[in-house]
Amino acid sequence: MGCCGAKDLKSKFVDADVDLSLLDEVLGKYKSIKGSLITILQQAQDIYGYLPLSVLEYIAQETGVKSAQIFGVATFYAQFRLSPIGENLIMLCKGTACHVNGADKIEEAIIEELNIHDGETTEDKLFTLNNVACLGCCSLSPVMMINGETYGSLTPQKAKKILKEIKTKSLAKEAN
């Protein structure tokens, strides 16, 4: 989390021209319920894939919660993303069990294969890498989850092979 100098706060967010009316149903349901900000942000992220600046400002305008507070909450929690992600989200488990069983080597393999570090997206927008604290599949460690599917007992070679396969599938889908 850390702290985020207020001066360049807005530069942390990505602005995008999105259809704000998609959010009206969520706001209608929750804006009058006290303490619903996190729920609103979660559902907004489900809709847009991340939290664009325009969405945060729209939530502030509609709920009456100060935008500073909304930015504060959006930057505090690990779940909230402030920029768009690639087509395939890799969640690499860095929990204790995975760490002990070689998660760092898996991370190196991903970096080698895709040339992205934690939090980054590949130039072709196919992959985003997110390191996460624990996926709770410790007995299968080291583990990564891609688009909700868990891949366990990884080796660097196995991880690279999985990424290659997903890339091929994604490219084939695009070609169609």
């Binding site: 989390m1 702290c3 690990a78 779940q79 860095k94 204790t96 604290a133 709770g136 366990g152």
Partner: protein, 581 residues
Amino acid sequence: MKVVVGLGSCGIAAGANKVYETLREEIDNKGLDIDLKIAGCVGSCHLEPIVDFYDDEGHLDRCVKVSADKVLGLLDKALKKELDESSKITEVDNMALQKQVRIAIENCGYINPEDINEYIANGGYSGLKKVLTEMTQEQVIEEVKVAGLRGRGGAGFPTWFKWNAAYREKATPKYMVCNADEGDPGAFMDRSVLEGDPHRVLEGMAIGGYAMGANEGIIYVRAEYPLAIKRLEIAIKQAKEAGYLGKNIFGSGFDFDIRIKAGAGAFVCGEETALIASLEGERGMPRLKPPFPAQKGFWNKPTNINNVETFANVPWIFRHGGAEYAKLGSEKSKGTKVFALTGKIKKGGLVEVPMGMPLREIIYDIGGGILNDKKFKAVQMGGPSGGCIPAELIDTPIDYESVTKVGAIMGSGGMVVIDETACMVEMAKFFLSFTRKESCGKCIHCRLGTKRMLEILERITEGKGKEGDIETLENLAREVQAGSLCQLGITAPNPVLSMIKNFRSEYEAHIRDKKCPAHVCKSLITYEIKENCTGCTICARNCPVKAISGVLKGQHKIDQELCTKCGKCHDVCKFSAVEIN
């Protein structure tokens, strides 16, 4: 015949969904008279996917490591009663299950978590009925006191005391909160309970809600546990329909409702005041205590917060009696505890044992010993807030007092086994980098102190450690502990202190001799190829930076200037010719 497929997160990760779908398709296509069911995780995660075949007499054949392409063959054999031993669970693995005493996870892996009737058939909601129709609030609190139940989230605070404090408050409404924000990386007890037996938690919350006088329950659950959330939603809906939640439960006049609130990923929200801030839609930053949540909690109203596993023990206590529960465990730590046994262990998974069981029995008799028969070095308990129990203390009984005495903490139940290949300076660095990242930033000592400590540890692992570093770490640790408001900061230095205490010589080797005894810290090791190199060239072909030279059938050589110490040559060499120094 009844067939049950274990569909917990770990089972699904191992491919259980495909096994289930294959069976479903076969049964539907052929119109077989088979009752196909799902269950949560039985705890033997290393054997997943697990499929249980019950014949019409109720005899169980448990098949393990079942893949989708094998399951139909097994079904065929099961129908003909010809299942051979090779596909079934081994006697040893079965014994490991038998050695446990199961209360919180007694139903996990056996009942269908999405069917309230299976929970009821196993005694479910009878505890709540007894409480609401026969007992006063004081009697309920007294029964929990007799049981000696203590908070399973880590601190081990007596549950009755918290319930009583909230009961004595006059202000209303009151709130009963379940902390399911299982954040310790390496622990998944709560997830398994929620996925495998969600009604149990609802029943426990309703009983506690009655005792303290709350009509609203909230489960604060990690958003990273989508399956747990889904099963909780189903369970709440079913319980409401059946009248175990809602208005006038069992005609007692007691109303109780439960809703789910998904967390958004912050370790600090496991701290109760931070959890309350998060429930109110704010940044999850801890608040000053007192006032305690029992006096001023959620929206400044009396609030009680217990962990999932604590609630999971409650229905059993009211079904069998507090005295019966107190018979289990050691003098001051009653009952059982669920542990997530992971790391360098042969048979990782979930185990529930009576408090006071020696660590040795958990690791060797239940866990099957150390992976690849390496040397056991330590067990890390309590995750980033905890400490380690070194190999020489392996006979320590595992209960709150004994574990604290040796410098670790019980924690929520993460038990990560570490073998000789791990470097304890690097492990301390790992935990501290986690707490540093998760510090909410409110208290300066926690925010900056953990960062300074991490920098020192990083320096040590890079071979730049200097005399006095250990003492500086110890001083900083004391100040972080003294200057932090909540348990995240107070406990953050624990892994470092515990590892210095038990493995000081490893720290000294890094600092004075610039050596990493476990050969982990890259800056302190070199790779060299020995004379027994056969010149097979596999290392040279796998080196990502082309640092290895040599001719076919001739001894190869590593250019130390180019080498990035990735260790690939060591991993691929079939003749153990690559040496780490």
